[in-house]
Structures are given as C-alpha cells and as structure tokens.
Symmetry: C2
Subunit: 349 residues, 2 copies
C-alpha cells in the first residue's frame, strides 16, 4: 500500500513535471519575437521569409554565412523628420568652428547657421544645397578619425530631439529593433546601408542597434594616412567623396563593402529603391520591405505616395509605391502594422 | 563482502574514469594549435599576444567584438613568386579577349602577351607598368560582377603553379593557416587586407582561408548599377579606382571597410609597413609580424633585407627590417620558424 501510494505519487509527480515542461515549451513557442507588430501581411512576410530561408528542408534554404540583411537607417530604423540627425550635428558643430576661427562668424553660410542657432528658425530655409555641402565639409572633414569619433560620441550623449525630448538614439523603431534581433537570432548578419555618413553612424551603431562598425555601409569620404608631430600615425578625414551611398550607390556600396547580394532589404524612400531591386534580383526567397510613414499622430506622415504630404526628407513617391505593389515588395504601414513606435524611455542614469 | 567488493570496484571505476578525463584534458592542453611552428620568439609572441588579449584578468584584455586581425595575402598567406597569381590570371584571360575581338591580336600589349603564352617566356620582360595596367583594365573590368566571379572561380579550379604543379589555392602557408584558426578560436575576426583585387580574392577566400568575402579588403574599383536587356539589375565593374590598397592605402582601406584599428597585423613587404604602424599605434597589446622569405630551398629567398636577393615582387627592404627591429615588430624567418611550408596535397577528387 505504501509502495503503491509512493508509486502513484511518483507517477503524478512525473505527469506534473511533464505538464510543466509542456507548458514551458508552449510558452517558449508563443513568446513572440515580433511582439510590437500587429498581425497582418507585413509581419507574416517576415516570419515566412525566416522559415523559408532557415529550415534546412526548405527549397529556399540559405546557408548561415550567406544570410545577409541590409537596413537603411534614416526613416527605416529611426526618426528622420523634421531633419536628419546628422544635419543637426553639422549645424550644431558650427559654433565650435566659429570659436576656432572667429572670422567665420561673418562668412556665409556660417553666419546664417549662427542666426538659426540663436533662435531665428526661419534662417535655415535660406540654406541651399551647396551651402549645406560647405557646412558638411567644414564639420565632417579635416580632423583625425579619432577626434571625429570622440566629437560625435559626446554630441550623441547630450543632443535631444525637439518633439520627444529624448536622445536621438532612443528614437529608434521598436518593431524594427525586433526585426534586427529576430534575423540575428536566425543566423542573419545585419547591416546598415545608409545615405548618412559611414563614420558618423559607426560611432553609435553597436550600442543603438547591436550592429558593429564594420557592418555599417554609408556615404564615405577618403582618409589620408600621415604622422603627427610626435611621429604617431594618424588618419585624417578628407573632403574627397568615395561612395555616395544613396540610390544606385546603395547596391554599389553593398558590393564594395560586403561583396554579396542581401537576402533581405529594408528601406523607406526612393533612395532605397535600387537596394531593394538588387536584393530582389537574386534567386530564392527574398524579403523586400518599405516603411510608409502614415502615422502623423504617433510619428510623422509623409509620402507623397498614397496622398500623404510631400517632403524632401525621405521622399516615398507614388512611383515607388507602384513598383513595390507590382513586384511583390511589402509596404509597412506604421499606423496599422506597428503596435508601438519607440522602445520605452531609458531610466535616467 | 559482496557490498565492499562492489564498492571497491565502484571506486576503481571512478578513479579510472577520472584518470581518463584527466588524460583527455592533458591531451587537449598539449594539442598545439601552432604545430607547424618551431619554438622560438615568433611562435611565443603569437601565444603571448593571444593570452594577453583574451584573459579577462589581463590588463590588456580586449572584448571579443574588438578583436580584429588583418593579414596581407601575397607573400604572407600564400606564394607570390615568381608572379602574383592575379597577374597570371590577367595574362591567361588575354586569349579570350582576342577571341572576342580578333583585331587585338595585333595590338600591344596583347600581342606580346599572346607571344608569351605561346612559349616566348622572355616576351613578358617587355611589358611596362602602363602595359600591365592596360591588361588589368581589359581583363578585370567591363563585365558584370557575377560574370567576373564565375570566370575567376573557373580559372582557380584548373590553374596550377609552375614549380609545384598544384592549384594556387593549395600553396598557402600551413603555419599561417594555423595562426588564422588559432586567432579565430580565440574570438578574433580575421581579415585579408591585400594589394590584390578585392573582387578577385573574395571569390576563393572562404574556401581557402575560412575568411568570408565581406572580410576581404583589397584594391577596389567602382561598379555601376544598371539593368540588362531583360530589365534585371546588374552591377558592372568600372575601370575607376576607388581604393589602392597598398602602403598608406592599407590603413585607409582598413578604416573604410572595417572602421576599427586592428590588434594584430601580418605582412611581408614594404606595402604592409603602414598597416603594421597603424595597428601598432593603438593602446594595449598589439602584434605586428612580417614574414621574411629566406628559404630558397622550400620556397623562395628575397629581400633585399639582410643580404637576400632583391626583387620587385614583395620587396622587403633593409629599412623595413630596421624599423621592425627598432619598434619591436617580429620578423618571421620561414627557414627557421616554420617546420613545414604548405598543407599536405589534397587527394584528387
């Protein structure tokens, strides 16, 4: 009797344990790596793509080494409106330039930038593209790569977006962070392929996206190797453009820096069109996705595709929208596909 | 008695098992990852560097993500004499060019190359640097990146070195293959940083060295994105040079393609000087090594450092030798430091 009771308890214990394990398995299976996505064709396309490329019995299986996924940054991984963060950086570096060379205070376009920073918000409208190029050259070149990195790091630690009053590096899209993690957990190597400055984005890419500097492809200038007055080797940033990583420059940059065709590519504007075409031209399963900013309330609304307001920053034309629909690319609606936009605010240190 | 016998047997079994485990541990510890290296300062420097950078209690500990090691290819990882393999490739592509455009048969420098390939070995001496550049442009540009990759792959599968009658990809240095594996096993990311063509080396780097295409930095030209007659996106190789990855171009290329300073750098010629200086200028433990070809019997002997014969291919000057000695770089003597030069020949398929 004692034996049989003990045995029965043992069987019950086993059952409970196995039920527990079952419950745990079920929990693991239902834990959603894309929990900030609403159910729908966009979320489904990502899950289907990962299944097709990682299941070794799938006809579209891709060996781990070849699993490359590329992501535009501005407007795809983080906020780009009303102005690219790097443009803000360049403008906010101007006072330091003027301090070093006081005569610049009366020279355009620096004079206009100083007015803008002093509160004359309309002054910015006066700046032409050549003006902005002059400012970019003055603030992004001429220093050593180490000094530039230190300057960007310092700026990023204190600069804040005007609308959300949060650091730019906290204004990444939570659903896209989940895609990055989900792809990496499935053996994909994730790359940023940005029209922004390669050296600029590399400063914060690891901490912000878990993407190491060597996996950032961006607009890049040359450097010159020389020695400082102590004979120490230095690399100085040149004004010479090597790669304009926008439009056709994106697949060209991918070939230069990665050397393989991506299986997945994510963008949000006409500057990403050729990258998505190039990814899509390969064999097997290819994931091509575009973020459409149609959420004025939680973020911004701009196109001009689908009747959204026109913009010069991150333009998504109707032509691009039509190409996407025709070629089976997936357009992500921020408004409908994303449950949340940003990660929770970090506690103050 | 039975009990005590069983217990004794159990104790003996445990002892045997633990001895067995001990023996296995000892085997694992004494299995030498650098078994093709003779004991000496070169081998010791590699082992000491790995210990210093990977032991978390070491003041020179480097976190895994930052563990970057760069290797020149020609003369450092594989044979470069009497002629770089890529130059042989370019020369051997000329008949295909002439077949496509028969008028080239009477145009220099192609005429001279055709004579050389027909057996007039002295003809090659007539080619000037501009001639070689013309041949390189004709054989390395103008085709799609996919066609180029297929051509190099095909050539590599059949081309053989004249002295050893083995494929070029088998004439890698076994001791350096061991260094690559040893560093990777210790969390280092290994890169090739070569004066050779980036697209050329990327074709065979994974299979030959376990280094994926995206970890090959080399001399690189631009590409142009367009569409073929079926509307399929293509990338065509341009004659425009973007990066001359030699001398100062090596640290510049490392910054462009990797964006971090290497902790270890390996080379064999004046073209590697700046890469080693750049690696050495960082903080903490830095490994800087140069292979000296002083083994005429098993491979080749050339310098002109240390009275070795002079050469135009992989020049190691006395000045470089003196800088190495002055700055604590390690010069590897092929003759004295390496037990074997090449991996065993692969069995015919």
């Amino acid at each position: 009797m004692l034996y049989s009771l003990t045995r029965r308890m043992f069987v019950i214990a086993l059952l409970v344990a196995s039920l527990g394990a079952g419950a745990e398995c079920a929990r693991a299976e239902t834990s959603d790596p894309l929990s900030s996505w609403n159910d729908g064709p966009a979320k489904q396309a990502i899950v289907d793509f990962v299944k097709a490329t990682t299941d070794s019995s799938s006809p579209n299986f891709v060996p781990p080494g070849a699993r490359i996924a590329t992501f535009d940054q501005d407007g795809t991984l983080w906020v780009e409106h009303p102005m690219y963060s790097q443009v803000v950086y360049c403008l906010e570096r101007v006072p330091a330039l003027v301090k070093a060379k006081p005569e610049l205070a009366n020279v355009e376009p620096f004079k206009t930038v100083m007015s803008f920073l002093s509160g004359d918000r309309a002054a910015i409208e006066k700046l032409s593209t050549p003006d902005l190029e002059k400012i970019a050259t003055a603030t992004l070149t001429g220093m050593t790569v180490d000094d530039f990195e230190a300057e960007v790091e310092k700026w990023m630690a204190s600069a804040k977006d005007g609308r959300w009053k949060r650091p730019y590096t906290e204004l990444t899209y939570q659903p896209m962070q989940e895609v990055l993690s989900y792809l990496r957990a499935n053996g994909f190597k994730t790359y940023i392929v940005t029209g922004g400055g390669q050296d600029f984005v590399r400063v914060y890419s690891e901490q912000t996206y878990g993407i190491p500097p060597e996996q950032v492809v961006g607009t890049a200038g040359g450097t010159t190797y020389s020695y400082d007055q102590n004979g120490k080797p230095i690399l100085t940033k040149d004004p010479k453009l090597l790669l304009n990583d926008n439009f056709a420059g994106k697949p060209e940059g991918i070939h230069l820096m990665i050397g393989r065709r991506p299986y997945a590519a994510f963008g949000n504007s006409t500057g990403d069109q050729q990258m998505l075409e190039y990814a899509g031209a390969g064999d097997g399963a290819r994931l091509k996705m575009l973020v459409l900013h149609d959420d004025a309330e939680r973020e911004y609304a701009y196109g001009p595709a689908e009747g959204l307001p026109d913009t010069k920053v991150g333009t998504f034309t109707q032509e691009l929208y039509d190409e996407a629909k025709k070629d089976g690319w997936i357009v992500i609606s921020m408004k409908n596909d994303w449950k949340t936009i940003f990660p929770p605010a970090k506690a103050a240190p």
